[in-house]
Amino acid sequence: MISVRNVSMSFGSLKVLRGVSLEVAAGESVAICGTNGAGKSTLIQCLTGVHAYEGSIAIGGFDVRRDGKRARRLIGYVPQELAFRDDMRVDEVVRFYAALRGDRAVDVAAVLGPVALRDHAQARARVLSGGMKQRLALAIALLGNAPILVLDELSASLDIEGREAFLHLLVGLRGEGRTVVFASHRPEEIAILAERALWIVDGKFQSAPAPRGVVTATNKENRDVLIPATA
């Protein structure tokens, strides 16, 4: 579903990604883990075509550089920094992004229902809390039934309660057969959501060892995941 081959990316003279390769199968849930500045977000943004890169990335068989629109229609993206135009109402935000995905008759209530924002459809974006914005971004990511969810630091702006609810929502979406790729440095998120975790250090994937405080264990689905050592 996602094929990343020998991707390198630099910001000026700073090399952020150094020949990264990754294959993600349909329906798989993969965590891109690493410390701040390791290159997680940059890799995620290369998948969405935001950054220019060397190497090749294909989404659902579509090359991100050459056929970006077709590749991105398969992706629902939840960014780390959540910003919507302050004066836009929630329903206007949904309609705008739905129109870009070809759905001009979107049922706003049906889109906002699963992320518990139906009652806030008329609210301006500026009054939404961080958690609400995160859920709105997820609602937008799910527009058009995108089969791939890409999330950057998925619960960065949430409190503990909000994070649990958000993760519960994502586990449900993974269960529907969506492919999920997310960047995170929180072991508990990785343990709950990921079937496979890849560690990125200095712009390169490293197979082992996991960072201190995290061990590999087998989850209920008999897959190796990383969990906090204290769990």
Partner: protein, 285 residues
């Protein structure tokens, strides 16, 4: 996962979706209300001053109001359009919204074209509403003859605004921060509105520039082109502009509208197209 993702929208549909958002946001903003109000107030003020200068009271007719408005438009419209364009891309980039927009099934050219179109429509709305209200007030209080001159000035103002909007967008694409983009836009406005005039004056005195050179330099500046063309279109003799105006009247009486149209068309297309090309190659975040 019951249904497949919807097909990507056409370039025109995406451009129009983005343009509508830009237009709606601009119409809701204080920027739009303030600019439109400024047009009306300044237009009526210019009409009042024109009448006073002519020895009368109240408001003067359309002809004199138009002549008085040319200088005002030459300053106000470029500033409006430059700052509107300069804030568009840099502002979204700075707040992280651009990366989110570009992660949607939309191309970079569609994004920049949509922004240009939406802001162009907002500028058109502001200019025509401002001129329209000004015209309505003048028509009720003074001689209504010569309204065509005001309509022509409004059209040329929009033409000028489109060129300045393209320059503003180009600045915005090249700037990482809104403050830098706005600063550059204001600098560009000062350069076009004042520095070229002063530079030509200094150059003429220092290097004894020929009249042809001065005219060529004027025709390369969209603000000067607008001023010359607007006065010509309003039937005002160009000798009010000095020797360059006199030379233009003598040597280019029929060619002037074509030269001016070509110059403003280039200014309306080249900076905007350059912004789109650069944006298509530049990382967003």
């Amino acid at each position: 996962m019951s249904s497949s993702p919807l097909r990507p929208e056409s370039a025109l549909a995406n451009t129009w979706t983005i343009a509508r958002r830009e237009l709606r946001d601009a119409l809701r903003s204080r920027w739009f209300a303030l600019n439109t109000a400024a047009f009306v107030l300044l237009g009526v003020g210019v009409s009042f001053l024109s009448a006073s200068a002519g020895g009368g009271g109240g408001l003067s007719g359309f002809g004199r109001t138009t002549a008085g408005l040319v200088n005002l438009v030459t300053l106000v419209v470029p500033l409006m359009a430059l700052t509107a364009g300069a804030g568009s891309v840099a502002g979204e980039r700075e707040r992280g919204m651009l990366a989110f927009l570009l992660s949607q099934p939309v191309s970079r050219v569609e994004v920049i074209a949509g922004k240009w179109l939406g802001l162009a429509l907002a500028l058109a709305a502001s200019i025509f509403l401002g001129f329209g209200l000004c015209a309505a007030i003048v028509a009720t209080r003074a001689n209504a003859d010569g309204a065509g001159a005001l309509v022509a000035l409004a059209m040329l103002s929009l033409f000028l605004a489109l060129g300045m909007l393209g320059i503003g967008l180009l600045i915005s694409v090249l700037s990482r921060r809104t403050s830098v983009a706005t600063g550059l836009a204001v600098f560009c406005w000062l350069l076009l509105a004042f520095a070229t005039d002063l530079g030509l004056m200094a150059g003429t005195l220092t290097w004894k520039l020929s009249i042809q050179t001065i005219l060529a330099a004027c025709l390369a500046n969209p603000l000067q082109v607008f001023k010359i063309w607007s006065l010509d279109a309003a039937g005002i003799p160009l000798d009010v502009l000095g020797p360059v105006g006199q030379y233009t009247m003598d040597r280019l009486p029929n060619a002037l509208p074509w030269i001016a149209a070509a110059s403003l068309t280039l200014w309306a297309i080249v900076p905007g197209a350059s912004a789109a090309l650069l944006f298509a190659r530049k990382p967003a975040a």
